[in-house]
């Protein structure tokens, strides 16, 4: 697949377009929490998935999903309707998770990473290979995991990730490349090898 094709197939963009959202946002601006509840339910799966993959921890992801929506509510005035609300909300969530990660890194140096936990245990029933990939992503070091999730899963560009994280583009690329190499090592990728062997 070419790079252009990859970029044009950014995951989930179409699901962010809900015709009722602009009117709901206007009601939210007037303090209508029922409208905000509707917005929450339209977007919570997307935001929770992002938080879960970035943190690899279901408990944190749930709290951060709530925090992200509350931050969104608080900052609604900064959404000017120029892009999709879902896209704006995803940036708010990324910012929320990154703030948490920075704080956590300062406070919890004693802790081991929860390598044995299974953040995707509740997703039983999906394809085995997807679960393998989710688990492998969850096992990545935090910086590499966040770069991979934001670029290859969420579809943000290097420059956008650099702006959100405050890191240099070169640092983001290095983290992303490291993540991909680790994932290929951990997954083995028999499918890719098989394709070549049968050529």
């Amino acid at each position: 697949m070419s790079s252009a094709a990859l970029q044009s197939a950014l995951p989930g963009e179409s699901s962010e377009i809900h015709p009722e959202v602009p009117a709901l946002v206007e009601r939210c601006r007037r303090g209508d929490t029922k409208a905000f509840e509707r917005i929450f339910h339209l977007h919570q799966g997307r935001i929770y998935a992002l938080c879960l993959r970035m943190t690899a921890d279901p408990d944190k992801a749930e709290t951060l999903t709530q925090d992200a929506f509350l931050r969104g509510w608080r900052k609604l005035d900064s959404y000017r309707g120029e892009g999709s609300f879902g896209g704006w909300m995803r940036r708010v969530a990324v910012s929320t998770v990154l703030d948490f990660s920075r704080q956590e890194a300062r406070q919890r140096k004693l802790f081991r990473p929860y390598e044995d936990s299974d953040p995707h245990a509740h997703a039983v029933g999906d394809a085995e290979s997807r679960i393998d990939l989710e688990r492998a992503v969850a096992s990545l070091p935090a910086g590499a995991r966040q770069a991979f999730v934001l670029h290859d899963v969420e579809g943000f560009r290097h420059r956008e990730i650099a702006e959100m994280t405050g890191l240099a583009v070169g640092t983001i690329k290095a983290q992303l490349h490291r993540a991909r190499k680790l994932l290929m090592d951990r997954l083995g990728d028999p499918e890719g090898r098989r394709n070549h062997e049968t050529r």
């Binding site: 070419s2 790079s3 919570q44 925090d67 919890r108 509740h122 990939l133 290859d152 899963v153 090898r193």
Partner: protein, 224 residues
């Protein structure tokens, strides 16, 4: 293009980061080098699979209720990072005064902890009263009391068989055991070297870590 250079550029090529001439060189190399072609296909396959992961995952519980409660309380105006899970020690009800004392004790340790002691539950002596030793000892006592108060529920979960424990508790309990050992070691070391303010800090940090883990265990127990 040399093999090593081509291998280094594969990810940039995949991401469309190469200039046209360099990309053409790499394409030619891929036509000739089986190892790089395989590596590139593995990369493509990984990125394709990542893009195919489901965009949405439903959380295990209804999260709206918590948001609604916080909106009703006006908590949406609080900075998000002050309402973390696990909840920071200073947000716990064990007193803001203890947190403030802890900060003061740590900040002042280098200058004022001339004779810091592990506070073993007895009342502060005359030497300690009126000095920052007492502040440090009081802080330690408060932390120890807080840890003890939370211990019964945690101990019960630690004593339970693996299959009886709440989901997700295992790794946290393992970390608790590590922190318990750290506390024991820090206590022994500080008792042996009461002049060492770094050991005092280490012990305070270990207690903070234990409190945070106990909070996590409590939250899991509440949900189960």
């Amino acid at each position: 293009m040399k093999h090593d250079k081509a291998k280094d550029l594969l990810q940039d090529y995949l991401d469309g980061e190469l200039a046209a001439a360099e990309a053409e060189d790499l394409r030619r190399h891929l036509d000739q080098c089986r190892a790089c072609a395989i590596e590139f296909e593995r990369l493509e396959n990984l990125v394709r699979r990542a893009g195919e992961l489901p965009a949405e995952i439903e959380p295990g519980q209804d999260l709206w209720q918590g948001i609604e409660e916080r909106l009703a309380k006006g908590d949406a105006d609080l900075p998000a990072e002050t309402r973390r899970s696990p909840r920071p020690v200073w947000k716990r009800p064990f007193t803001l005064a203890a947190a403030a004392a802890l900060v003061l004790a740590v900040l002042a340790a280098d200058r004022f902890l001339g004779d810091p002691r592990i506070f073993d539950g007895s009342n502060p002596n005359e030497t300690q009263v009126g000095s920052l030793d007492f502040l440090a000892a009081g802080t330690m006592q408060t932390l120890e009391a807080e840890v003890r108060a939370a211990d019964p529920g945690v101990e019960a979960m630690m004593a339970a068989e693996d299959d009886e424990r709440a989901e997700g508790a295992g790794p946290i309990l393992e970390n608790l055991q590590i922190v318990n050992r750290a506390i024991d070691e820090a206590r022994r070391a500080w008792k042996a070297n009461p002049q060492d303010s770094h050991l005092a800090r280490m012990l305070i940090s270990a207690y903070q870590a234990k409190l945070a883990l106990q909070s996590q265990v409590s939250r899991i127990a509440e949900r189960s």
